[in-house]
Amino acid sequence: MSGRRAGLAAAGVLLAGAMLAPYAVMVLTALKPERELRASPPRLLPVEWRPGTFLDVLRDPAFQGWLAVSVVVAAAATLLVILAAVPAAYYTARYRFRGRTAFLLVVLATQMFSPTALVVGLYREFFELGLVNTYAALILTNAAFNLAFAIWILRAFFASIPREVEEAAAVDGCGRLATLVRIVLPLARPAVATAAIFAFIAAWNEYIVALTIMTDPVRKPLTVGITSYVTAYVQHWNALFAASAIAIVPVVVLFVLIERHLVSGLTAGSLK
């Protein structure tokens, strides 16, 4: 039996290695000084280790600006998704009403539309509304396209909570809203965490809408902004990769914090 466990652990190490190897190249490239980037054939390890690039990037006002935009947009979009999805999911899970099926079908259909498929239409819409280059446009887009998944995950979870729990609360004199906030939401924490992390990651990593509608250099989020480290004119691959590695850190930390919730949140979603 222990031989089997060792074999599994070895497979685990291989898997982790395969997943992390490209990102190891990312960090090692970021640690090289500029002149070593043009070495051919390339070396894996830097000759001269230069961690200063990471500090340069962190001190770069442009990077700080992109980071701030990303944090604001991703946080606002996530908040909006949860605020809209919780009542919608709770209501459809608990009450039968006219148009319920139609509503759920529309939710499913929006999952099929991606900002990418609609980007031409989105651009026309924001162009005519005068919302090109505004944070509102980016936040709304990110929130809207992640709502479907959030409603879907939350609805399945709410439906799995026995009604008796809520009836007990009602008997104890809890109003409908108080029941939702004080009883149901704490129980649904895994599902809320799952929906939130999905929305946050999608917004944090969104590229095409930001690329299209945020043309003002100081209003770009990280994903679009950092590509300006490598263009036809300047080739700061080390700065690009240092910035990319820094951008991954907050998401991984968030993920590690909720990983346990993630699987149980998805489990409920996959059952219904």
Partner: protein, 275 residues
Amino acid sequence: MAAVVLYPAVHLVRASFGRYSITGLYTGWVGVDNYARLFRLDALPTVVANTVVWVAVVVAVTIAISLALAQLLDERFPGRRLVRWALIVPWAASLIMTSKLFAWIYDYYFGILNPVLLALGVIGQPVDWLGDDRTVMGAMIAVGIFVSLPFTTYALLAGLQAIPPDVYEAARIDGASAWRTYRAVTLPLLRPALLVAAVLNLIYVFNSFPIVWTLNDRNPGFGHDTMITFMYKIAFKSALRDVGLAAALGVVNVLVILAAVLVYLRVAWRQEAEG
């Protein structure tokens, strides 16, 4: 909220029946002219073929590998938690950054892939992965699979953990082999999770933009574009700059993915009814 999603969809359909100047101003209704021009484009058959290959290979291989990975991560072994965290990284990294990273790794002169494969004896001479017509699609597909694995594995892992342990107990008592148990017990019970993973992957991979956009950016023309990057080039980047034409392709794209998902769901549900 639905307005933000549905309004651009309406906009898209309307734009597909209009003509626009090169600066994006609406100049009039042209009916189905954009669609007629779209289907006459010389690049279209290549782009459609690329899209089919891209979606089919990435989704199929991703699901196959993820089934194995989910099985592995469902077992108990020392360090499992750390391996799960490692799997998260390609998901947490933005697609555009991972795409740039692979563009660098694949690079003919400065990328690390060629020296590594040469040292291992896999290739005899350096390959221009992103410049050679024979390798660029394969190189993009490899990245597509790599970034799709984490989500798919997690979705399937969630499905595996929803299977009650007593059904395995029953299979063991009946003396079923490990492989037989997997085929007769695990796979059928995993079907809902598989369905979800396959449908979402189908949508994500079809709509995927950054990988093809980044890895293919130094190749001229549309030889390795999918329908999504083709649409973007028509609208914003190529000499065409044709909003109406791009909108027509956008409508076609949405209909294609809708049809693909519906066909898939029908087949999956029919199998479920029969099985």
